[in-house]
Amino acid sequence: MKNLKIKAARAGLDLSQAELAEKVGVSRQTINAIEKGDYNPTINLCISICKVLNKSLDELFWTEEE
């Protein structure tokens, strides 16, 4: 499932995938894979992303049951 929340938060801070990747210490392909829903990040990476994007884990990674 695509993670549009990260994409939106990233766009809000005017950060590119490459810039976010550099700030959290992963490759750009990894950020792309997370946003596309192809990769489930570890909790440590989730926390790093949240810190850089100034969001909580819930705001970026919580999904409501349909």
Partner: protein, 162 residues
């Protein structure tokens, strides 16, 4: 009976992957050392070489699997960069290893022909160095090319979304 659903939870899965990872490298280095020892013991004896075929085939399959898998997923190495400096150093080490192994093996087989043994060892070492360097330069080149392509594809994707 085999379950479709894994019996392992997330943590156990990670532990199993770690064990399999260590097992894989144990097999890699074990086979390499076994072949090196057999080479020193048997030298250029045909029967000795025949005895090594099994190990060699398994080693090559393992090596090719790792190399192709990494290239396919655009992964080079945890610590080493895909550059010429790394390739030259790695090739020198491989050449030195092969050269020394051949000298030891030849000296054991022909104790009276020291100069010939050293010459053979040097030739094999240089040959290994060149072959290794060519292979590494080709694979590193492909890795860099694929990485660039991937970056361009991501750029295009980001531009489209904007």
């Amino acid at each position: 009976m085999k379950n479709k659903k894994s019996n392992l939870d997330e943590r156990q899965e990670q532990e199993l992957l770690k064990i399999e990872h260590n097992g894989c490298w144990l097999a890699f280095w074990g086979l390499l050392i076994a072949m090196a020892v057999q080479m020193v013991i048997y030298g250029y004896d045909v029967n000795g070489m025949k005895a090594m075929i099994g190990e060699w085939v398994v080693f090559m399959i393992l090596t090719l699997y790792i190399a192709i898998g990494c290239l396919k997923h655009n992964i080079w190495d945890r610590r080493f960069a895909a550059d010429t400096k790394t390739n030259v150093i790695t090739s020198i080490l491989a050449g030195l290893g092969m050269g020394i192994l051949n000298i030891v093996s030849m000296v054991r087989e022909y104790p009276d022909a020291i100069v010939r043994s050293i010459a053979t060892g040097v030739f094999m070492g240089v040959f290994t160095f060149i072959l290794c360097l060519i292979c590494m330069e080709i694979t590193a080149g492909k890795y860099r090319k694929d990485k660039k392509k991937l970056e361009e594809a991501l750029d295009a994707e980001e531009d489209d979304e904007e």
